[in-house]
């Protein structure tokens, strides 16, 4: 009987031996990096900021929906592609027949807030990381520049939007309220200006070869000028004038051949102020689908054929304007790389600024992640902003305006006035995602677009609709823009 008792005891001990270290046993080490682990990496600070840039490469940030919203809506571009292929909603964008449920708005809304969230993550962690102070200052500057870029895109499209200045928490009702409430347009713009002023103060004018492509002081100043241009008071125009003048002293210059700007040989050249960097070889990292969604469609084509130049744009160029052929692919023409654009492609014209040569440029068969750098800010725009500001607040508008014209193979502008600058902006910056916002800013969107046959309603179409899905999600706290 004694042995029996012992055995019972042993069994129970065996049962119990496991229990003493239960919580230790359940505390498994994670197999993917936790935030703590990731941040202990000496490169963590730089990586946090690289991830903010990375958002610029995403399909929903810089590609199909953004193309639709910023370009197809305008008089520069048609939907393109085959008549039956709407690209989801691109026909509605083309016809200015959209509503809050038009999906592209939700995509760009979501994308820019994702970019802002990444910048906020970086700005949350950076101050506490133990790294070289100069590097820290620069990285904070880069993050603020990018946050301003994302907010600027939102503000131009939607006006006042929820203003998220940090990393929100799901448990905090205040954070939820802020996310569901639109700040005023003025609040958003002053936040953007604050970020850009900080960035301009902390960013270098140049980078070494290893860091080429990061935001510079010039980029922050140019961006700041552009933001002031959109605010448009006299004081703002003075700022535009001063800021562009400052940038003009930083050593940028116009590339002699306009057609090189959007080619691989023109990447990060003397004219470039800020561009999205894309890599078209293994491992690929490009702006997702940017090239293929705008490539020629149909037999002999290489893409889906969206965002095609309008006849109106093609007709707007003066004779001998070299920009016409550099901007537009014509059906049947032979391109610079020797490619004959087959007559069987679906549309008469395509956007050449999205074209990647498969034979003369880096290309490895991956047409989703192509090598196409997207130029966001370049020196020609600085000159044109400077010219426009000079007209507004006084000064020499002709010199900067004519510099742009000369490079395009044209003579001096016969008349130097606002219309001349605006026309030059249209042709110089065609397909660079500015036209619609430019027209609204210039106060003539209704006139121009109605003349173009679009149903632009004054007081409504100056802003795009807040995505209905977001309004629903906020239980109606987000307010819709007028007219929608």
């Amino acid at each position: 009987m004694k042995t029996t008792k012992n055995i019972v005891l042993i069994s129970l001990t065996l049962l119990a031996f496991l229990s003493c270290n239960d919580n230790e046993f359940l505390d498994v080490s994670p197999s993917a990096e936790t935030p703590e682990q990731a941040l202990s990496n000496p490169n963590a600070a730089t990586e946090l900021v690289n991830a903010v840039y990375n958002k610029l490469l995403d399909w929903n940030e810089s590609s199909f929906s953004w193309i639709g919203v910023s370009s197809i809506t305008s008089d520069d571009a048609d939907k393109g592609s085959d008549p039956g292929d709407t690209g989801g909603d691109k026909n509605l964008l083309d016809d200015l027949n959209f509503s809050g449920t038009t999906i592209s708005f939700n995509e760009v809304w979501e994308a820019n807030y994702q970019g802002i969230a990444r910048a906020n993550q970086a700005l949350k962690f950076l101050p506490d990381l133990e790294i070289d102070e100069a590097l820290k200052t620069r990285l904070i500057g880069e993050s603020k520049f990018l946050r301003a870029l994302y907010y600027f895109r939102l503000a131009r499209m939607f006006g006042g939007v929820p203003l998220i200045k940090g990393v929100p928490s799901i448990e905090n009702q205040d954070d939820i309220n802020v996310a569901n409430t639109r700040a005023t347009k003025e609040e958003v713009y002053s936040f953007i200006i604050m970020d850009l002023e900080d960035a301009a103060a902390s960013l270098p004018t140049h980078y070494g070869a290893a860091n080429l492509g990061r935001a510079t002081k010039g980029a922050a100043l140019t961006m700041l000028a552009k933001v002031h241009m959109y605010l448009g008071t006299t004081a703002d125009w003075q700022k535009v004038k001063d800021l562009t003048t400052e940038v003009m002293g930083l050593g940028y210059s116009l590339t002699p051949d306009y057609s090189h700007i959007w080619r691989e040989i023109g990447e990060n050249n003397e004219e470039s102020i800020f561009e999205i960097q894309a890599r078209g070889e293994t491992p690929n990292k490009g702006v997702q689908g940017y090239f293929v969604c705008q490539g020629a469609r149909g037999a002999g084509g290489w893409g889906w054929g969206f965002n095609t130049p309008t006849q109106d744009l093609a007709n707007a160029y003066e004779a001998n304007d070299t920009r016409r052929d550099a901007t537009i692919i014509f059906r049947g023409e032979t391109l610079w790389d020797g490619l004959l654009v087959a007559n069987t492609v679906s549309n008469p014209m395509y956007n050449q600024k999205a074209y990647v040569s498969k034979t003369e440029e880096t290309f490895n068969g991956n047409d989703w992640d192509s090598n196409k750098n997207i130029r966001i800010l370049r020196y020609a725009e600085v000159l044109l902003m400077n010219a426009e500001a000079a007209i507004k607040v006084g000064g020499d508008a002709a010199t900067p305006l004519n510099a742009v014209r000369h490079r395009a193979g044209l003579g001096d502008a016969p008349v130097v006035d606002l219309m001349a600058v605006w026309k030059e902006r249209r042709l110089e910056l065609a397909f660079e995602h500015d036209r619609y916002f430019d027209l609204v800013r210039q106060g003539r969107a209704g006139v121009v677009l109605r003349a173009h046959g679009k149903n632009f309603v004054d007081g409504k179409h100056e802003l795009f609709p807040i995505p209905q899905a977001q309004i629903d999600l906020s239980k109606g706290l987000l307010t819709q823009n007028p007219g929608y």
Partner: protein
């Protein structure tokens, strides 16, 4: 002996009739096998012997004595000694199901003492429907268990026990094989299985706590038995054909339809080709299975060994599967107190997958397109066949070349093993422990011959013109591994107090750990020769790791304690209470990773009450009631991690600079989903046990189902946040009824059936950011389902078609009367989940013949004809659509006017999913004993799925998809057609 003789002599004059003599004989089973260790007892004495190894016994007994023969699992038999010196006895299997032993968690219990709802399926029943995985053989046999099968080679059916209680959590039951918890059953040889016991209600399930919410299937494999060495061999071979084809438009009908749709005569009325694409991609499949087992044992040791080989050629050309299984199980009785055993099984399979989208492509490709160009090269590959004028026919690839160019192989090895011991501490208390480990290794490759595909597009293409920047081939290799171990230890105390107070207590603990790991690499320009399919032969530097498929999952650890107390009074009043306490590493919040899962079950055996005890009509009548709470810890991964795949090209060389940040927002408090269930049941047996059955009502509520919530976008997450946000209820009735009778010695028959009703509903949404998730995407931009309160999970949400207008266009119900047909006009039209499903079976034996038939069906389910709805324009249509088309002169026709528009998601494509299928019909013949040494020889012919009654116009109404109700389950898109098999088989026992 001497004394006996003296006594005998002394009493001879007086007790002439009480004279003892030696009686001997042999005890055999009903199939003639000798049974060792049978107790042979002289009634009302303590005198007895046991049979030896060959079933022989001898005992001294008087002429008037009554010998009682008893053996576990057999009906006891009483025989009066009489005058003969030799008594041979045949014991029959205990027919009384009440004495059936049911496997429950950590022990067994007699069926009559059960307080929960458990369905037991024995090997004989499983054998009637031979299948690769035993889960398939359960179809139609158990109430409350829905098996949705796919006919694809090597596929595991979807198993749903009492409905779907979760949306994002794991939906599959767990299997407990010989006491060991595992998630898989497809590695188990069906021929090795003795019984499957399906635990259905919370009272039975709670002992498995946080693993149990989707049900548990207990699988018991065969063991060696004391006795002669038994060799059993079986084989079957058969062919497979498509059960129901869809009749597609022929070339001239297609031309006619398309010309109307295109509004000009694009195609000739007398086409050159008339390709039947379905015939081009299918063949008559075949299946073959060979099994051998050897078992036997002595008093001290028993062993079982089996080997199995299964091979299937699918109906889709090139689609093959084969599997080899081995099992070895040995049990030792080291001392009367100590037993020890080990069991190891190994399963090795090899599959050649082919894309099932070929079925959809064959459905859609135009009959005008020939398979090959005149020079023999395949036409097109991905939507590129052009007509003579250089126009595309449609967006559909050439399914024949799709199959031909698909070059994939997968191989898997799963090893499961355990060691176990049982020690009898005292008579009434025993200790069991086991350690089990399973481990799996899978690898696969996919080879893409881009050059060949490029050439296939156009016969005029020359190899020399192939774009140099595109690799000629790409090779993707995948490897995955897992391990999982379980350590169990528990005590069982079994005692009776007084006359009739029976107690049983189980107390134990279990510990588990497991991890999964995989990687996937793609490399360019690996040679075309399959012998060289290896990463070492690709172009160095082109390798790309697939970040989504390369990962080490976190370890999962579990620590549990469990207890069960059962008490009954005289097997009349029954109560069982269990509790399990589970700790799991899965949950991030360390304060919320322990949970308790209690249950209680009550039973009242009315037939043991005095007022029924002597009833000749009622043999058994039991009422049951149970309640319990269960968990589902199989929730989606929910950890806050750095997304480290956000690099950005920088520098003059645009090299990728690593980028990483946090892109998700998680709810750290996410824990298991909790299900609470009530069950009420009646069990009965009437008319001398000929009629028996069970009725259950169940009502189970998952009161914290995990749902994705959509935070306002300014939160900036790129993924949905998961949180407990919903309540899902399943309730219904289960009926099972069996009639079994014997007309005479030669003729036995049985008829049985079962029926289950289920009502599934998302009852509540409890989070402000939960949203009505759209689902059921059919890949042309259209969606068909929505998750909404008050509806079953996975409900179809569609436009309602009211009829056709004067142009033959569909008229949709403009429900909000805004003169526009938008998504706001959609409404709910039911779900794929059936209101009820049922199985019937009938069987009889006449002399040496046996016959069996099973049927299975469901009612109240809806299926969506996704392949028909997935049009972009220019695809083929069904003959019935092409031949009965609307025209102005004949508006009576039921089909809309031809169109090439992308169709709206509407009720036009929604059909009834009701069906009744003959699962199998078999006829067997067992040869009389002709040759010594052969114990049994049976041959049989069997037809599986020979007939289906359905109204659905597609290939099959059984559309499990990937099992996710919100995705394509219930939508026929890339679905494998139902397959009929015709088998011939043989069983030999030596």
């Amino acid at each position: 002996m001497k004394t006996k003789i003296i006594y005998a002599l002394l009493f001879v004059p007086f007790l002439i009739f009480a004279q003892e003599r030696t009686i001997s004989g042999k005890v055999t089973s009903s199939d003639g096998e000798p049974i060792p260790s049978v107790n042979v007892l002289i009634k009302n004495t303590s005198k007895g012997v046991v049979t030896d190894f060959d079933g022989n016994f001898s005992i001294a007994a008087n002429q008037n004595d009554v010998l009682v023969f008893s053996y576990i699992g057999m009906k006891p038999k009483e025989i009066v000694v009489g005058l003969s010196d030799i008594i041979n006895v045949k014991l029959e299997d205990s027919a009384e199901s009440l004495e059936e032993v049911v496997v429950v968690g950590y022990g067994t219990v007699q069926k009559r003492d059960l307080t929960g709802s458990i369905t037991s399926i024995k090997a004989d029943d499983l054998a009637k429907q031979p299948a690769l995985t035993a889960a398939q053989s359960l179809q139609g046999k158990a109430s409350g268990v829905q098996i949705i099968s796919s006919g694809a080679p090597g596929s595991t059916p979807v198993v749903r026990i009492r409905g779907i209680g979760t949306i994002l959590g794991g939906r599959n039951p767990i299997y407990v094989v010989d006491g060991i918890i595992t998630e898989r059953i497809d590695n188990i040889n069906s021929d090795d299985i003795v019984s499957m016991d399906i635990l259905k209600d919370a009272s039975s399930l709670a002992i498995y706590g946080s693993r149990a919410a989707n049900g548990v299937i207990m699988v018991t494999t065969k063991s060696g038995k004391e006795g002669k060495i038994k060799v059993e061999a079986s084989s079957y071979y058969g062919i497979k054909t498509v059960l129901s084809k869809v009749n597609m438009a022929d070339a001239s009908s297609y031309s006619n339809y398309s010309n109307i749709a295109f509004k000009y005569n694009r195609f000739s009325a007398d086409p050159q080709y008339n390709t039947d694409w379905f015939d081009e991609i299918t063949r008559t499949g075949s299946v073959m299975n060979h099994n051998i087992s050897i078992s036997g044992g002595t008093e001290k040791m028993a062993a079982f060994f089996s080997a199995n080989y299964y091979e299937e050629e699918g109906i889709l050309i090139g689609n093959d599967y084969r599997r080899m299984n081995l099992r070895n199980k040995v049990d030792y009785t080291i001392s009367p107190k100590l037993k020890f055993g080990h069991n190891i099984s190994l399963s090795l399979n090899r599959a050649i997958p082919k894309p099932y989208s070929a079925f959809t492509n064959a459905y859609k490709q135009s009959p005008l397109v020939p398979v090959r160009y005149t020079d023999g090269a395949y036409i097109g590959r991905w939507g590129v066949p052009f007509d003579d004028l250089g126009h595309q026919y449609n967006n559909v690839g050439n399914p024949v070349s799709q199959l031909e160019l698909s070059n994939e192989l997968t191989k898997n090895l799963v090893i499961q093993g355990n060691i176990n011991a049982e020690y009898k501490i005292i008579d009434k208390l025993k200790f069991n422990t086991s350690f089990a480990i399973e481990s799996g290794y899978g690898k696969s490759y996919a080879f893409n011959n881009a050059l060949e595909a490029w050439l296939a597009v156009d016969p005029s293409r020359q190899v020399s013109a192939y774009p140099s920047e595109i690799p000629t081939t790409t090779f993707t290799q995948t490897k995955d591994e897992f391990y999982h171990w379980v350590y169990d230890a528990f005590l069982t105390y079994d005692d009776t107090f007084g006359e009739n107070h029976n107690f049983k207590i189980v107390l134990g603990t279990t510990t588990e750990k497991g991890q999964k790991d995989k990687f996937k690499i793609t490399m360019d320009n690996v040679p075309v020769n399959s012998d060289l399919f290896s990463l070492q032969n690709g172009d160095k530097g082109t390798e790309v790791l697939d970040y989504n498929d390369t990962k080490l999952d976190p370890e999962i650890t579990l620590r549990s304690y469990f207890a069960r107390v059962s008490y009954d009074f005289d097997h009349k009043y029954l109560i069982t209470a269990t509790i399990r306490r589970d700790g799991s590493s899965v949950f991030a919040n360390k304060n919320k990773n322990w949970g308790n899962f209690p249950s209680v079950g009550l039973g009242w055996v009315l037939s043991k009450e005095s007022f029924l005890e002597n009833s000749t009509f009622i043999n058994n009548l039991k009422l049951r009631a149970s309640w319990g709470q269960l968990g589902n810890q199989n929730i989606p991964l929910n950890t806050l991690t750095f997304n480290s795949n956000l690099g950005y090209p920088l520098g003059s060389d645009q090299s990728i600079n690593q980028g990483s940040t946090i892109t998700t927002i998680i709810d750290k408090d996410v824990s298991w989903e909790e299900t609470e269930e009530f069950d009420f049941g009646i069990e009965f047996a009437f008319l001398n046990n000929r009629l028996s059955g069970e009725i259950d009502y169940y009502n189970r509520l998952n009161n914290n189902a995990i749902l994705p919530i959509s935070l306002p976008n300014p939160f900036g997450t790129s993924e949905k946040t998961l949180t407990h946000a919903g309540e899902v209820r399943n309730k219904g009735f289960e009926f099972a009824l069996n009639w079994k009778d014997k007309i005479n010695e030669n003729f036995n028959y049985s008829i049985g059936g079962n029926l289950t009703t289920n009502k599934n509903e998302l009852e509540k949404i409890t989070n402000q950011f939960a949203f009505e998730q759209q689902g059921g995407l059919i890949d042309n931009g259209a969606w068909t389902k929505k998750l909404s309160v008050g509806q079953p999970v996975g409900s179809f949400y569609l436009l309602e078609v009211l009829g056709m207008d004067e142009n033959g266009d569909l008229i949709y119900n403009d429900r909000n009367n805004d003169n526009a047909i938008t998504d706001d006009d959609r409404k709910f039209f039911g779900s794929y989940q059936p209101d009820l499903y049922y199985g019937v079976n009938i069987g009889f034996t006449y002399k040496n013949w046996d016959f069996n038939a099973d049927g299975y069906g469901n009612a109240g389910s809806k299926v969506y004809n996704g392949k028909k709805a997935q049009r972009f324009g220019g695809e083929n249509i069904e003959q019935s659509v092409a031949s009965n088309i609307f025209s102005a002169s004949n508006a009576e026709n039921q089909n809309p006017a031809p169109s090439n528009e992308v169709p709206l998601s509407s009720t036009y494509f929604l059909e009834s999913g009701d069906f009744f299928r003959i699962n199998n019909i078999s006829v067997g013949y067992t040869f009389p004993k002709i040759i010594d040494g052969i114990q049994k020889l049976r041959i049989y012919a069997l037809a599986q799925n020979p007939i289906i009654f359905k109204s659905f116009s597609g290939f099959t109404p059984e559309l499990p998809g990937d099992g996710d109700p919100t995705k394509t389950s219930g939508i026929e898109l890339d679905a494998y057609p139902s397959v009929s098999s015709y088998l011939f088989g043989i069983n030999i026992n030596f």
